[in-house]
Structure formats: C-alpha cells, structure tokens
Symmetry: C2
Subunit: 147 residues, 2 copies
C-alpha cells in the first residue's frame, strides 16, 4: 500500500495482498468460498468427525461451522448424526455425492497451487514455509503478552 513505510510493514502488506488475491481468485474460479472449501477438504481428508474437531481444524467460529453445515446438508453434500455415546456431539461426513463433487474442487485447487508455485524450488518452498512458521510463532507471542 504505502511506499513510505518500513520494509517490514511492506512485507506484511504483501502477505495480506497475496492472501486476498488467492481467496478472491480461487473463489471466483470455483464458486466456493475458501472457508467452505476448507471444511469440505477437511471432511474429505478425515472422513467422519465431530463438528467441534472440524471447527478446530478449520479455525473458524462455531456459529459459522453450524451455518455452513446446515446449508451443505440441505444440498446433500454432507450428512450429520448424533454421537450415540454422547448426544452433545454431532458427527459430520461427506455424502457420496458430496465426496464426488469435492474431488473436482480438489483437483482444481491442486492445479491452482501448482501454478502459484510453478517457479519455486523445493528449497524455496521450505524456506517460505519456515518463515511463515516463524511469523506465526512471533505473532502468537504478541497476543499472549497483551491478553
């Protein structure tokens, strides 16, 4: 955004910009929002799981999960049932037809990702990954100090 800021600020800004770009463009290509795709992706990987576990993995609000799943259930993409051993928890999984549909999105996302990183070597990917991890750790620390 600004050109008169510190180098660091610009890096952070670039990070946010790339992220926004990813969300916008991928969503535009597939018609599915990132968070919804994350939900579906997680269910695809894990199979049946509790809403709670799903929410923690995907890291969005409880309420948001409930509403996503409600819609996805209406469209027969996921199915839900109570855990017979603990009626507080509800298990979620992809339906058969949901599973098929998601496969297509996953392929599309894989292509998207390949394109995004097409000129990155293995080492570079690793490097980026490690830097992001460090950022994450540093930022977590900030929150702890102030909370």
């Amino acid at each position: 955004m600004s050109h008169s800021c510190s180098e660091k600020a610009n890096v952070l800004y670039a990070l946010q910009e790339v992220n926004k770009q990813i969300n916008q463009k991928f969503e535009h290509c597939t018609g599915v929002s990132q968070s919804r795709l994350d939900i579906l992706h997680q269910l695809y990987e894990t199979g049946e799981m509790s809403q709670k576990a799903l929410q923690q993995q995907v890291n969005i609000d409880n309420a948001a999960i409930t509403r996503h799943l409600k819609q996805l259930e209406e469209r027969d993409v996921v199915s839900r049932r109570k855990n017979p051993d603990d009626n507080r928890v509800t298990f979620v999984k992809l339906t058969k037809s949901g599973h098929e549909k998601i496969g297509a999105f996953r392929n599309e996302k894989a292509r998207f990702i390949d394109e995004a990183f097409k000129d990155f070597s293995e080492e570079e990917q690793l490097l980026l990954s490690k830097m992001l991890e460090r950022l994450k750790v540093n930022i977590s620390a900030i929150e702890r100090e102030r909370s």
Copy 2:
C-alpha cells in the same frame, strides 16, 4: 490444515493461517479492523484524495469504501467534500482529531510489526518479500488464463 496434502498446499495454507492470525490479533488489540486501518493509514500517508484513488490503493470494494467513510465521517474522523472541478468525485481526508487518533494506531501497528519480524534479518525480509511478489505474479497469471 491437512497433513496428507502436497508441500505447496501446506505452504499456501500456512500463508492463509498467518494472515488470519494477523487480522484477528491486531484487530483484537486495537479494536479497528484491518481494512479500516488500511483506509486510515492511506489517508494519513497521502492526505486528501478521491474515494476512487483510496479504493484502488486499499483494494476493497467501492461499496465498502463508501460505507466505511460514512461511518468515519459520522465519528468525525474524516471529512469529505466534492471536487469543485468534477462533481462526480469526492475528496476525503482525515480531520484534525482523526489524524491524532490514527497516529496512535500507527504506533501500535509499528510495534506489532516489529514483534512479528523480530528475528528476521534484512536479507530474510527481502527474500520473503520477493517470494510473495512471485506468488502474486503467478496467481495473477492464473486468473488471466481463465477469465
């Protein structure tokens, strides 16, 4: 999120996670949303400018800008006036009191950023910056292909 995906996918996921973390934590600390802060930051840097220019810099929707500014005007943080030479465009700037308030946020953000990058050398910052730029370019190319 998932552990069975490609390395690249995980990097992308990490990027999104860091970004979300930044937004959540910074917003939590200051009580101001990122996009609103971006708007204010831009006005702080640039002084008076048209809504259009502001919108392009900050990269959020026209409608969103209008609504943000409406609120900020009500709270006497910004002031608006028509461009006398072209009544389609409205100029925006920080009010005096707005300018003072924003200064505090900017300091807070600067501290936040310093913490986030505290163990990054100059070279590392540059490296990260360049990688993000490459990602950005690659992703832009994807959209062009499909649109």
